[in-house]
């Protein structure tokens, strides 16, 4: 066992060397994608379609990941993203149908997400609840609540409402959804917020050294309430987008595990919002490519293995970075002395 540890240290050094060189992960990723795209174009695949689909997949993942990045920076970890996706999607659809407006449906879905985020923060900050357990609780509630709600209200776990679908901004050269633009803006703003503002400094400090923030006269609890609510709202927007932006309708398992891929984006990106969005795009691209390959070039690689890509990439990322990426106080309730 000792020998293996030694070897591992050597490997870590090599990785550290790369990190010092400031190779930016997204930059490498982008370059890789460009090269890949060229190759795929040569192979006869349709690049605009691949990008369109990647953007669609990216949007909910990216929104949730950006929100969760801020949340985790402040010291709260919410693994209930999948549950928030599902609940906000169904609430969004319900609101859209009741009010008769897709846009308002998305808005209310976002508010539903924010509300769950806030509730989560209250439980964790004031109730000092275990965050992992509470997050899991959200997921399990959603597994039951969404079909229960749909069956009770609509007597069906599938609903189509194309009339309330948010329409695309434009169709050429590629189709672009307004919420996709929001996701990109959210990532940029989150990045500015975290790294260029005093408030961002406080958020990060609340995750690293909550005592110090407290001493400086800033309320850690309020920061965490804010970040969790914001995180929930962005995740809720992602969920509502699934039902009202991507589709004009909903099924009971509409997110199909995407909440966990969003979590993977956060971890891979080391809690940096822009990178999280980058990973969301990359995972979206992998998914789009997987489907295309499955149809046009069967038997290259079983689809089941392609679907594993986000999770394997995440494992590789955490193996390289180790535990260093998380703020020190993450997952721990902060109690004022």
């Amino acid at each position: 066992m000792g020998k293996m540890c030694l070897d591992f240290k050597k490997v870590s050094k090599i990785f550290a060397h790369f990190q010092r060189k400031k190779f930016s992960v997204p930059l490498i990723g982008l370059a890789a994608i460009v090269i890949l795209l060229y190759g795929l174009e040569q192979a006869g695949l349709k690049i605009p379609s691949l990008i369109e689909m990647s953007l669609l997949v990216m949007t909910p993942l990216g929104l949730a990941a950006v929100g969760e990045s801020i949340n985790q920076k402040a010291g709260l970890i919410n693994i209930g993203l999948e549950g928030i996706f599902l609940i906000s999607a169904v609430i969004g659809v319900y609101a859209a149908v009741k009010i008769g407006s897709g846009v308002l449906g998305v808005l209310i879905g976002t508010l539903a997400g924010a509300f769950i985020g806030l509730l989560f923060a209250v439980i964790c900050v004031y109730g000092r609840a275990n965050q992992i357990v509470a997050g899991m609780g959200i997921n399990i509630i959603a597994i039951g609540f969404v079909p229960f709600f749909m069956l009770t209200v609509w007597r069906s776990w599938l609903l189509t409402i194309p009339q309330f679908q948010i329409s695309a901004l434009f169709y050429n050269p590629i189709r672009l959804q307004p919420v996709t633009v929001l996701a990109i803006i959210a990532a940029i703003l989150a990045s500015i917020l975290l790294y260029k503002t005093l408030f961002g400094l406080r958020i990060r400090a609340a995750g690293e050294k909550p005592e110090a923030v407290d001493v400086a006269g800033v309320r850690v609890d309020r920061i965490r309430l804010f970040t969790a609510t914001l995180g929930g709202a962005l995740c809720g927007l992602g969920g509502a987008f699934l039902a009202l932006g991507w589709f004009g309708g909903i099924v009971k398992e509409i997110s199909a595990g995407r909440g966990f891929i969003a979590l993977a984006c956060v971890v891979c990106a080391g809690l940096r919002p822009l990178r999280a969005l980058g990973f969301a795009f990359m995972f979206g691209f992998a998914e789009a490519l997987a489907v295309t390959i499955a149809i046009l070039y069967k038997d290259i690689l079983p689809e089941n293995f392609i679907y594993m890509i986000p999770y394997i990439v995440t494992l590789v990322a955490v193996i390289i970075v180790g535990k260093a990426m998380f703020p020190r106080a993450i997952g721990k309730p902060y109690v004022r002395e």
Binding site: A129, I143, T314
Partner: protein, 347 residues
């Protein structure tokens, strides 16, 4: 003697009280949701509990639902005892089920040995799937929540892939376990695998509370600094907790196949193993992270899973509500002093 019993009961009162309170919170919010959705909660709960516990056949079916939950609760509970959030039971159940389905369905062995070997392979596969997360934690400090979530999803797709290769004449499930690899049917859907399961629960209890290893594991979890000071290896404790968790989860998967009357196989969509790992987290919490407490908690929730069928048929309440109730119980139990907080408010 009597004093010891009284003291023991008094020690029990607080944790049991907290669990009971959380369960009541869950059931009350469930009732509230029923009222909002226009159902009668009294009729619904009456149908539910009568269906689950009102007859011998109800009890047998309830125990069937409880069987895998007792085990996945152990996976989470042993982790918690060692200070680890092992939420990887879900994936370990899938892979354990694959192992059991492989040996049970494809490898002919003499009766008696066959069922034992298939069970052992299920458990072994569960451990194998648990180990990477343990090693990543020990060597690289990778947070087990992240790694186990990722391994759960990898397990999902991997298991579907493997079922495709283990299918017999029917593509939708693995080749059914041979008769020699099946546990005997006791009544309703309950099979004798429950004895193996309860035996494992008791063994884990003995390991945790009656052996030095168990003491070290619990100390490493409750007070790692003190453990290090006492020369106890925290890494070893983590490793053991993952291995025990993997054994339990693997057995849960094996139980769903080798004790999975009437199909005796693993379904391709994971239909007969899905969500038990996640539900186990809640069961562990209700059972106060104790293997024996987990048995009772699993029987309670197995009752909910069984009784919801009667609840839907007789009271017209959609059965998915029981997941909501479990989720709320979990969140209530996530708050360490919920009972104390509530008491303070109403004083």
């Amino acid at each position: 003697m009597i004093n010891r019993i009284v003291k023991g009961l008094r020690d029990l009162a607080r944790p049991v009280g907290q669990s009971v309170f959380a369960v009541l919170v869950g059931l009350s919010i469930g009732a509230l949701i029923m009222i909002i959705s226009g159902n009668n909660p009294i009729a619904a709960y009456y149908a539910l509990f009568k269906g689950a516990f009102g007859s011998l056949s109800g009890w047998l079916q309830t125990l069937t639902f409880a069987t895998p939950l007792m085990l996945t609760a152990i996976t989470f509970a042993v982790g918690m005892k060692a200070g680890i959030f092992n939420i990887g039971a879900e994936g370990q159940v899938y892979i354990g089920a694959v192992g059991a389905a492989w040996v049970g369905g494809w490898i002919a062995l003499p009766a008696g040995l066959h069922v034992a070997a298939a069970t052992a392979f299920g458990m072994l596969f569960g451990v194998l799937w648990a180990l990477p997360a343990a090693l990543l934690k020990i060597w690289r400090g990778v947070h087990e929540v992240i790694s186990t979530i990722m391994f759960n999803w990898i397990a999902f797709y991997f298991a579907i892939f493997l079922v495709g290769h283990l299918a017999g004449e029917r593509a939708e499930l693995t080749k059914p376990a041979m008769t020699s690899a099946r546990y005997a049917v006791l009544g309703e859907s309950l099979t004798s695998v429950i004895f193996v399961v309860i035996a494992l629960c008791i063994l884990v209890y003995i390991l945790l509370w009656r052996t030095r290893t168990g003491y070290e594991l619990r100390l490493a979890g409750s007070n790692p600094d003190a453990a290090r000071y006492a020369g106890i290896s925290v890494r070893r404790a983590i490793l053991i907790s993952f291995i025990v968790g993997g054994l339990a989860a693997g057995l849960a998967g094996a139980a769903q196949v080798l004790g999975g009357h009437p199909s005796w196989a693993l379904f391709k969509g994971m239909g007969n193993v899905a969500n038990y790992g996640f539900m186990g987290i809640g069961i562990a919490l209700i059972g106060r992270n104790h293997p024996i407490g987990g048995i009772f908690a699993a029987i309670f929730y197995g009752g909910l899973l069984n009784g919801r069928i009667a609840m839907q048929a007789e009271a017209g309440v959609y059965s998915e509500l029981v997941y909501v109730i479990l989720g709320i119980i979990i969140i209530s139990l996530a708050i360490p002093d919920l009972l104390a907080i509530v008491k303070k408010r109403f004083k």
